[in-house]
């Protein structure tokens, strides 16, 4: 049964990883503007004229 202890340890470790990821996201300003990126992602990449012809 002591394998549970190891499992719990890993599960907390993995969850802690997600917590750190969340903290990083907040820190890098991803929660500051929750609208503009949703529009920005829809803009197509630039197509150069010569690529078409």
């Amino acid at each position: 049964m002591s394998v549970i202890v190891i499992l719990v340890f890993f599960s907390v470790l993995v969850a802690g990883g997600f917590l750190l990821a969340f903290m990083w996201a907040v820190r890098s300003g991803q929660y500051e503007d929750r609208y503009t990126p949703s529009v920005r992602i829809l803009f197509d990449d630039e197509v150069k004229e010569k690529d078409i012809t």
């Binding site: 202890v5 907390v12 907040v26 503007d33 803009f43």
Partner: protein, 813 residues
């Protein structure tokens, strides 16, 4: 009757850039038609730089360039001043600078696209990024290739003129950030989830079947996970409770903190002494829910600014005339006796005497009245007006901060803080609640003490734990937060949640007149005199088409005809009127002094029983036909609002205007309510204060800077705004003018919200009584606590959110 050339406008010819109707088809570029040369220029810039995708993303995304005076090259010369550059720059290392600009025109995805492609227009710009909701553009550029002034000029050239005001210079805009709340919620959520997971064996296993070593291991782990939640995530509650105690008052955070601390101490004791598993799961869950409530309540409208004072509207610089030289200086350096030049569309920054030129001043910022006032040399012009027409020369008589209007901001009302004047319902309840639970807990202790000390302590702590007023603490954030959202959907934007609660307490409503209960956008234009024939109407419409004066465009809109004559020898005398030869007739439209013979005007005025002020006289071939008058139109639904509110509230109107509208107003407001005229901005503030001193809770509804004092002094100040992102003085809430008719329902909805909060308090108290009864008997198990506490929280949250939604629907909001 000889009809000369009639230009028939093709209906529906819209400007390719901004989508406004084109008055003529003359302005074209590459088979595209534009309403003005400004729009055409922007199109050509974009076309040249291969950025025409701007027009594909959204239809006619541009901003009308009609009102802008692009001829003024020197307008931004103040941006060359190193001092001003330093104050506007957020970051610089000498080579690369980052500046933030507020761009109010941003409105669609095309705007985002174009503003983030600025580097294509100028290679000196490295990157530009926009925050759409805050309408904030951050530009990173190379100092060696482009100056700050050129960046601003480039933005102006593509139609996005940044708003740079005195406020940006004096104190940098602070952005409200939720970052630390997110961290706290993240941590609390993480710990809460893991603790629940570790507590499951305890919940599910039949009592005593769990291996002892596991029990201890899980318990210790819970304790380790719970400690940072209590210390970091719940930190704000500790601070708030402590500051309450320091001010010798007990707020709702005190019993919460008490409950949390007792929870943690008792749990630690049980876990460390191996006598139980504690209640760490309940504690973290509680903190997590409380923080979620806080987040829900903190709904803010990023694009709106509730803190504006005159500095947000005043320009940074002004043209100073020194003998024959003209220099640009910051307005804060203006001294008495300085000569300044104010050009078309510029704002007058300080009280001054008109020295030279035709002044036609639009005071809409100050009073909400957009019809310009004429001034002659020697008259005092107060700060805050906007000049229409040619440049004028002024002599400053009072500095910016000492001017008539700006003095308002030196009053007491602007010094004290908002929070001081309001004691929220939940804190009042919290005070009695704390006393009560301390009393009950002590009683439980004394009751069990004769039996055993251990049971007594158990009962004492159990009461404190279970009575922790999480339900009560959650009620307000969710009810008020949801109410703010519902009101926001109806275009009533509250600054914060406490506005809703304060709004429910008012008993007196004071309205400003001009711009608040009257409409500013499209005043009613009537023609007094002999009826105009359709032919004469066409003449007038052809004439006013050529002028950009606000009154001209109103007359243009008021005349319902499509045909237009060709106009020759058109002449516009700023501040006086316009004249032209149309269809070989001499048509004059303008003020009394201008429209032909003065004597005739006076006769006509007498005959029509009117004065000559704010009348636009029409003369055709020397004979005076009559005048156009601009009437106040009251907003739609005003009669409904007053009829509805009269029953339960004291109403008053306080106006800066003369008494000419007295009769009309008493029709709406009845004779028992107060209507005051000729009030200065200071009078308005004092009137509100006087009402408050009599014990009234006052709601002020206003719109201009002249109401700013009254809005600030009042318990709740609502600003009515035609364009919510553009202009509004400092206030507690902004209401879109189009929704003015809903004002009474919005006020009543705030009352309903308060009732819902009270009902919800009762529900959570029932839970608490139930829990305390069990706790009193010392029969509280971790499982029961783990069920009872979330259950009460969830009931309260569901009840408040669902019932506010239901009541809003029932009221048609």
């Amino acid at each position: 009757m000889q009809i000369s050339e009639v230009v028939n406008l093709k209906e529906g010819t819209l400007c390719y850039h901004c989508g406004e109707e084109c008055v003529s088809l003359d302005i074209q570029s590459g088979a595209k038609t534009f309403c003005c040369t400004g729009c055409k220029t922007v199109y050509e810039i974009l076309h040249e730089n291969n950025l025409c995708k701007y027009y594909d993303l959204d239809n006619t995304p541009g901003i009308s360039q009609k009102k802008l005076d692009s001829a003024l090259v020197s307008r931004y010369s103040y941006l060359d001043d190193p001092n001003i550059i330093r104050q506007l720059t957020n970051f610089t290392d000498g080579n690369i600078s980052i500046c933030n600009f507020v761009i109010p025109q941003v409105h669609c995805s095309s705007c985002i696209w174009l503003l983030e492609k600025l580097h294509k227009l100028n290679s000196g710009i490295i990157q530009s990024e926009i925050n759409f909701l805050q309408k904030n553009l951050s530009v990173k550029f190379k100092n060696s290739e482009i100056s700050l002034r050129q960046v601003v000029e480039l933005l102006t050239a593509v139609g996005y003129e940044p708003q740079i005001s005195l406020n940006d210079i004096e104190n940098k805009v602070k952005y409200h950030s939720n970052k630390s709340l997110y961290y706290k919620i993240g941590l609390a959520g993480f710990c809460f989830g893991n603790i629940m997971l570790l507590s499951f064996p305890e919940y599910l296993a039949p009592i005593g079947s769990l291996e002892h070593s596991f029990k201890q291991f899980f318990g210790l782990l819970n304790l380790i996970l719970g400690a940072p939640v209590l210390i970091y995530s719940a930190g704000d509650y500790f601070k708030s409770a402590w500051s309450g105690i320091k001010q010798k008052s007990i707020n709702i955070d005190f019993p919460i903190v008490l409950g949390l601390v007792v929870l943690f101490i008792r749990s630690s004791f049980e876990i460390l002494t191996n006598t139980g598993v504690g209640f760490i799961d309940s504690m973290t869950g509680l903190i997590f829910f409380l923080l979620l409530g806080k987040l829900f309540q903190s709904k803010t409208y990023d694009a709106l600014n509730f803190e504006r004072n005159y500095k947000s509207y005043f320009p940074i610089s002004v043209t100073l005339k020194n003998k024959s030289e003209e220099t640009s200086i910051p307005v804060s350096n203006l001294k008495n006796g300085d000569r300044i030049i104010i050009r078309n569309n510029e704002l007058i920054p300080a009280d001054a005497i008109l020295f030279n030129g035709n002044a036609s001043i639009d005071y809409s910022f100050v009073t909400g009245e957009s019809i310009p006032v004429q001034k002659v040399a020697g008259e005092i012009i107060y700060a805050g007006g906007r000049q229409y027409g040619s440049a004028i020369e002024l002599e400053v008589i009072r500095t910016v901060s000492q001017s008539y209007l700006t003095q308002l901001w030196n009053k007491d009302a602007f010094i004290k803080k908002d929070e001081d004047k309001f004691n929220s319902l939940v804190n009042i309840v919290g005070k009695y609640f704390t006393v009560l639970i301390l009393f009950v807990a002590a009683a439980a202790f004394l009751y069990w003490y004769p039996t055993s000390l251990r049971t007594a302590i158990n009962a004492f702590t159990a009461v404190l734990i279970i009575a922790c007023p999480c339900g009560i603490a959650l009620t307000s954030p969710f009810a008020l937060g949801n109410a703010v959202r519902i009101l926001g959907r109806n275009k009533f934007y509250a600054k914060n949640a406490s506005v809703v609660e304060r709004l429910s307490k008012i008993d007196t409503i004071v309205f400003d007149k001009t711009g608040t209960i009257t409409r500013t956008g499209d005043a009613d234009i009537t023609f007094n005199g002999n009826m105009l024939s359709p032919y004469e109407q066409k003449l007038v419409k052809s004439l006013v088409r050529n002028s950009t004066h606000p009154l001209s465009s109103r007359i243009f809109d008021a005349i319902d005809t499509k045909e237009i004559f060709e106009v020759s020898s058109y002449n516009e005398l700023s501040g006086k009127g316009i004249e032209a030869e149309i269809d070989s007739r001499h048509v004059i439209l303008g003020s009394a002094l201008f429209a032909a013979d003065k004597n005739k005007i006076l006769q006509t005025a007498e005959r029509l029983n009117t004065n000559t002020n704010s009348r636009i006289f029409l003369s055709i071939d020397g004979s005076i036909k009559g005048f156009f008058a601009v009437n106040n139109i009251y907003r739609n639904g005003l009669d409904n609002i007053t009829a509805d509110l009269k029953e339960n509230y004291n109403l008053a109107v306080i106006s800066g205007d003369n008494e000419s509208e007295k009769e009309n107003l008493s029709k709406y407001f009845g004779s028992s309510n107060k209507v005051l005229f000729n009030c200065t901005p200071h009078d308005k503030l004092d009137y509100v204060k006087e009402l408050q001193d009599k014990g009234h809770k006052v709601l002020m509804v206003g719109d201009g800077l002249n109401d700013a004092g009254a809005l600030k002094q009042s318990d709740v100040g609502i600003a009515i705004s035609e364009d919510v992102t553009n202009f509004s003085p400092a206030c507690d809430a902004i209401l879109d003018a189009a929704e003015f008719g809903k004002l009474n329902m919005l006020i009543k909805f705030s009352k309903t919200t308060k009732t819902i909060i009270i009902i919800s308090f009762i529900i959570s108290v029932i839970y608490n009584v139930l829990g305390v009864t069990l706790a009193f008997q010392s029969e509280i198990s971790p499982l029961l606590a783990a069920i009872l506490m979330p259950a009460s929280s969830i009931t309260v949250v569901l009840f408040t959110v669902l019932s506010t939604n239901l009541m809003a629907k029932r009221r048609g909001l």
